[in-house]
């Protein structure tokens, strides 16, 4: 908890210092929202998929970006020798960014509600869907963070993976059926459709938990493996 509080305070101060970056990111998201609204299909469902993507993309990329920034600033080495685990630091950073992106997602949804007429844009069930998607994506975030610990430049490619997930969210185009069960974001968007239609079952929820849980577990285990291997050779801070 102390770790999250410390990261939160630091990130807020950082946000004040580098506020133009955050304004640019919000404007980019709004421009993408305009594209999403104007593509064919159910606007409500697409906007929710897009909001889900904003949350997932934050979880996916921010930990890796933070590690890359800390490496480039030269502060990472100092963090590694503090009495907290590196997984703890990455999780704390991700949680902080999840909170910031949650606010961003709410703003995006509110703005979208002015342009589209849908009854299902705000539902309480969306919260656990969002959390389950982010828990699964966290697994991939661990892997990317571990690779970034060794190869700093990996963070530059994370945004590509992020935009790949935009397609997998179904907000730009319909996700092919065979891809729905492969990742938490596609399944989350699919689950929301069932939720809105009232056809969701316990089995669907179990599948959702299994997909997200397996992504998290695989990511966590791979992180441990990569991180352990990285101690064999010289680090490039």
């Amino acid at each position: 908890m102390k770790l999250i509080r410390a990261e939160f305070k630091k990130t807020l101060t950082e946000a004040v210092s580098y506020y133009p970056d955050y304004i640019v990111a919000l404007i980019t998201d709004l421009l993408l929202l305009a594209i999403v609204i104007n593509t064919d299909g159910d606007s409500g469902q697409k906007v929710f998929s897009y909001v889900l993507w904003i949350l997932a993309e934050g979880v996916l990329s921010e930990a890796s970006m933070c590690i890359s920034t800390e490496k480039q600033l030269g502060t990472l080495q100092n963090l590694m020798i503090k009495p907290c685990s590196i997984v703890g630091i990455i999780t704390a950073k991700t949680l902080v960014w999840f909170t910031i992106n949650f606010i961003k997602a709410i703003i995006t949804a509110l703005i979208a509600s002015f342009f589209i007429k849908t009854e299902n844009l705000f539902r309480i069930e969306y919260i656990y869907v969002g959390i389950l998607v982010c828990v699964g994506i966290m697994g991939l975030s661990y892997i990317l963070s571990a690779i970034t610990l060794i190869f700093t430049k990996v963070a530059s490619f994370v945004s590509i993976i992020g935009y790949l997930f935009l397609f997998l969210s179904g907000s730009i185009m319909k996700v092919p059926d065979y891809l729905i069960y492969t990742n938490p974001l596609s399944y989350g968007a699919h689950y929301v459709l069932q939720l809105v239609a009232g056809t969701n079952s316990f089995k669907d929820f179990t599948i959702f938990i299994l997909i997200s849980g397996s992504w998290l577990l695989i990511g966590y285990l791979l992180f441990g493996f990569i991180f352990k291997r990285s101690k064999q050779f010289k680090w490039t801070y």
Binding site: K2, L3, R5, A6, K9, K10, T13, E14, S17, Y18, L73, G74, T75, L76, Q77, N78, L79, M80, I81, K82, P83, C84, S85, I86, K231, Q232, F233, K234, W235, Y237
Partner: protein
């Protein structure tokens, strides 16, 4: 407290550490000296668990350091690394202290030790300023305060006095000598500044050719170095000569010798000589 036993480490085909062994007791300062590329940083990184040695064991308080988790180990071991930026420039000095205090699980408020270090290193006025406005020396002092504030049992300092003015350098040396005595802290320090080595109550270890050896100034004081002063062509000449007194006397016997005196080496020269010996 810390025992480094037969540590070997290679990067690709280059063997940097060829089996180094040394120990550090509580209340002791060990100064690790070596030329650039001699493996000082690799040794420190192995002790800090950032690198895994190919062979050998490092024990802290009698337990293999690989058996400790980060929380357990780094609540007792702290470090100030020269290769790392140890503070955030967009935070103020106080915010940096508070951030790291939370990471270390200690309180920065009403922390008497922290206040003492801030006062000794004359950083009270600077704490409310953004670190981005600090000089290199001030950043170094802040990083040192952060490294010390958790009262570690073992402190690793990589070039702690780099960029410090004379007054600050003396404060750091004085603080280190004092806390080692008072708190029985063990300190491993690397530096290239010989005046720091001279002023610290430290045991010196020389790291050379991937091996570490204890350095005893007395061994080098016995080196037979003499300065021979003599007159030649009405000019006084001084020559530094190595060898036994009787041999030197015999060699200069035909010259108009004024004096042959034993050359007393400064510690800087002695250490330099030790480092260059087989290079």
């Amino acid at each position: 407290m810390l025992e480094v036993c037969d540590i070997k480490k290679s990067f690709h085909s280059k063997q940097v550490l060829k089996g180094i062994t040394f120990s550090v007791s509580e209340g002791e300062i060990v100064c690790l000296l070596g030329n650039n590329g001699s493996g000082k940083t690799t040794t420190i990184n192995c002790i800090l668990k950032m690198l895994k040695a190919d062979k050998g064991v490092i024990c802290f308080d009698g337990k293999d350091i690989s058996k400790y988790n980060n929380k357990e180990y780094f609540s007792k071991v702290s470090a100030l690394l020269e290769s790392s930026v140890n503070v955030y420039d967009y935070l103020t000095g106080r915010q940096n202290i508070e951030y790291f205090a939370e990471l270390m699980g200690i309180s920065a408020k009403n922390n008497l030790k922290l206040e003492k270090y801030v006062s000794v290193l004359e950083m009270e006025q600077a704490l409310e300023q953004q670190v981005g406005e600090y000089s290199r020396g001030m950043q170094q002092k802040l990083a040192l305060i952060i490294a010390l504030m958790s009262s570690p049992k073992l402190l690793l300092l990589d070039e702690p006095t780099l960029g410090l003015d004379i007054k600050s350098k003396l404060s750091v040396i004085h603080t280190l000598n004092e806390i080692v005595k008072e708190e029985k802290m063990a300190v491993i320090l690397t530096t290239h500044q010989m005046d720091v080595v001279q002023k610290l109550d430290a045991r010196i270890l020389i790291l050379k050719d991937g091996k570490v050896s204890n350095f005893d100034v007395k061994n080098y004081e016995s080196t037979e170095n003499y300065i021979v002063s003599y007159v030649e062509d009405n000019i006084v000449k001084n020559e530094t000569v190595e060898g036994m007194f009787k041999d030197i006397y015999a060699r200069y016997f035909n010259k108009e010798i004024i004096e042959i005196k034993r050359k007393v080496l400064e510690i800087e020269e002695i250490i330099k000589e030790a480092l260059d010996e087989t290079d």
